[in-house]
């Protein structure tokens, strides 16, 4: 069988140990550098200690998220209450003339859109992707906001499937301030805790609206995914 054949070749290849000289290049020129323990725990620690620093408090995290969001052209709106989130959405609806909205079964999302006078498409159960494509916006929840990268971490459970957050031209994430974490590793840990071994089949870090720079390095938003990304965070 091919599996055995390939794994056999791998084992045979690895029976010769790596040349120590080559192996040490990774560490070379690094005598004065902090090096963490090898292994996954060391790597998770590396994300905190070597990657960009974003502070420890929620205020620091929100500030860092804001700075990166501006750079990414993510619209980051911080509101005090669910009620003000509702108002923010009403204003967005007005500004962008939304008529059809894709949503899913998420408490926060549902309570924020309950007063919008529009047509809804719920993607929490079987739905028609052509109908979703015709929606002006997809509004979803998330599992976490990542301060270090200004990302929204979603799974098909927290964001109404795989397509709601990528097919319509505008994606709105509604989140609570308690969902803010420091690093992507913290985000993975949250999902691990929530789902144990029953992983969702889809996890994604969404970091800004869809973009490309394939033509002469000119940044264009909305290559295939959403042209706009709005993250509404309720701080109270």
């Amino acid at each position: 069988m091919s599996r055995d054949a390939i794994l056999g070749r791998v084992r045979e290849a690895l029976s010769v140990k790596t040349d120590p000289h080559v192996r040490e290049v990774v560490k070379k020129s690094s005598h004065s550098l902090p090096v963490l323990a090898n292994g996954p725990d060391g790597r998770t620690q590396a994300v905190k200690e070597f990657l960009p620093f974003v502070g420890d408090s929620l205020e620091d995290h929100v500030a860092a998220f804001k700075v990166l969001s501006e750079k990414l052209q993510t619209e980051f709106i911080v509101v005090p209450t669910v009620d003000s989130a509702r108002q923010a959405l009403a204003q967005l609806r007005q500004a962008h003339q939304w008529e059809r909205i894709g949503i899913h079964d998420n408490e926060l999302v549902q309570s924020c859109v309950d007063q919008l006078q529009v047509e809804f498409l719920n993607t929490s159960s079987d739905y028609d992707s052509h109908a979703l494509e015709k929606c002006d916006v997809g509004i979803s929840g998330c599992d976490a906001l990542i301060a270090q990268t200004a990302s929204a971490l979603v799974t098909n459970h927290s964001a109404g499937g795989r397509a709601l957050s990528v097919l319509p031209p505008h994606h709105v994430v509604v989140a609570d301030a308690s969902q803010m974490v420091t690093t992507m590793a913290d985000g993975f840990a949250l999902i691990r805790e929530k789902h144990h071994d029953n992983w969702p089949s889809f996890i994604s870090f969404i970091t800004g609206p869809s973009r490309t720079a394939d033509i002469e390095r000119v940044l264009v938003l909305g290559a295939h995914g959403p042209k706009k990304l709005t993250i509404i965070m309720i701080s109270a």
Binding site: A5, V10, V22, L51, S124, R162, S201, F205, I206, I215
Partner: protein, 468 residues
């Protein structure tokens, strides 16, 4: 780049042509300068980038040195989630595995997101020959597909093209409006491809990482095309090389920012998605089937090399191309390989044979810029030297080189002959001056692109004596 020409000849011909094109070269350089600026800014935000590189390099060492264990774990976990794993020893096996899946579903159209491994196995050629419609959805790939040419750079496939060229291409092939505006051109492609996502029967993607612990593939992208490709069609096929494995899910928290920073200078690309299995019972969308095609295609041959298995740690960020003086001058197509630049020159001789591809290891200034920029610290420029050594050891050196080195040994072993050669050389240089740079100059091939300075009045030996 026809298959019939010898790769060495093709490299030389194309290199000569491209290096003579000053306009294209300066276009390439200015684009790579832009990359350098953004990357430097992003890298400076790190608390300690060097240490992060070491940790990232360690993650890939751990994966590669225990590849048998992690590969088996990866496949078992994926299968437990309802995905089918296909183990393919070479490109033929991978091509027929993919073709069979497509035929089983009676599929007509295939949408693809960026995957260099499919270029490696020439998948599009086969599928088109079999009568399927295959559409590349990454904008850069879409453009080079319309031009019927290979990607120029494995991260920036269309970086060699100017907006005017893309404009006329779109007008000709897509009957689009006349515009040189990159935004309008992008929107043309968006409209064309939207419909394709919704109607395609099969979505084919690559994988940037395979997480052993959880049995997931991770895909890094900016455009959202990979997300659409893996969400809408009923069947998702992912093709990945066996070296893409990393041990744990949390490792991605380090690898993904490193890949983005080195690859495009972004702190993180727009979408980083992990996919583990087809749509599950409690999920509302996603493909009904997920197939992961694992490809060896001589990667185990590279793994068997205790020095150069190092190169299997590559995460395909493309940074070594971006800083390489050779790439900047000869351009991507000249390599004639799926993987261009220093990493391509290192691995292609292993994947496709040293005899035909050893010339790539000579097209290097050995400046070490590639090793210095690599986010996982692959010893790239020394591997180029090792390839040269191996080629010479196997007697695959060029005849002229052998004769030259034979003569060199004779002279270097005899001080009197060395002194004589030095003096004759000086005289010879002066006497042959009138023919320098002309075709009758015996060193024409070397001198046509180089100036040879007049020799110093005093040799080092004379200087050393006079100094005392």
């Amino acid at each position: 780049m026809s298959q019939s020409t010898n790769p060495t000849t093709q490299f030389q011909t194309d290199a000569n042509r491209v290096t003579a094109d000053d306009d294209r070269r300066s276009f390439l350089r200015s684009s790579l300068r832009g990359y350098q600026t953004t990357r430097t800014a992003t890298q400076e935000r790190f608390l300690n980038y060097e240490s992060a590189r070491i940790a990232a390099g360690d993650a890939k060492w751990e994966a590669i040195e225990n590849l048998d264990i992690y590969l088996a774990q990866f496949a078992d976990k994926l299968e437990a989630r309802g995905a089918t794993v296909h183990w393919c020893s070479d490109s033929n096996e991978a091509r027929s595995a993919i073709l069979n899946i497509i035929k089983e579903h009676d599929a007509k159209s295939v949408i693809k997101s960026k995957c260099m491994t499919t270029e490696e196995i020439h998948l599009n050629d086969l599928l088109e020959k079999e009568g399927f419609e295959v559409v590349e959805s990454d904008l850069g790939e879409f453009i080079v597909q319309l031009r019927e040419e290979a990607p120029y750079h494995f991260v920036f496939p269309a970086m060699h093209l100017k907006k005017e060229e893309i404009n006329s291409l779109f007008q000709e092939k897509l009957k689009s409006i006349n515009t040189n505006d990159p935004e309008e051109l992008t929107m043309v492609a968006r409209e064309v491809l939207r419909e394709k996502y919704l109607s395609a029967d099969i979505g084919i993607s690559g994988a940037n990482f395979g997480v052993a612990e959880t049995g997931m593939i991770s895909i890094t992208e900016n455009e959202g095309n990979a997300r659409l490709t893996t969400s809408l069609p009923k069947v998702h096929i992912a093709l990945m090389g066996i070296e893409k494995i990393i041990p744990k899910l949390e490792d991605l928290a380090l690898m993904l920012p490193m890949l983005a920073t080195a690859g495009t200078g972004q702190h993180l690309t727009c979408y980083n998605s992990q996919l583990g299995g087809p749509r599950q019972d409690d999920e509302s969308d996603g493909p009904l089937e997920m197939h992961v095609v694992l490809l060896d295609n001589h990667r185990t041959r590279l793994l068997a090399d205790p020095e150069q298995r190092d190169a299997l740690r590559c995460i395909r960020c493309g940074a070594c191309l971006n800083v390489c003086p050779i790439f900047k001058n000869v351009g991507g197509h000249t390599y004639g390989t799926t993987y261009q630049g220093p990493i391509g020159s290192v691995i292609t001789p292993h994947l496709r044979g040293l005899k035909d591809w050893k010339h790539l290891s000579h097209s290097s200034s050995l400046c070490g810029a590639c090793s210095e920029t690599c986010p996982v610290k692959i010893d790239l420029h020394h591997h180029l030297l090792r390839n040269r050594r191996d080629a010479a050891g196997k007697g695959q050196g060029m005849l002229a080189e052998k004769i030259l080195m034979f003569g060199f040994t004779i002279v270097m072993r005899r001080p009197w002959l060395y002194r004589l050669a030095g003096r004759l050389g000086k005289v010879g240089h002066v006497l042959t001056k009138p023919i320098h740079g002309t075709r009758i100059d015996p060193f024409y091939a070397w001198k046509k692109t180089r100036d040879l300075d007049d020799p110093a009045k005093q040799s080092f030996k004379q200087y050393w004596k006079s100094r005392k």
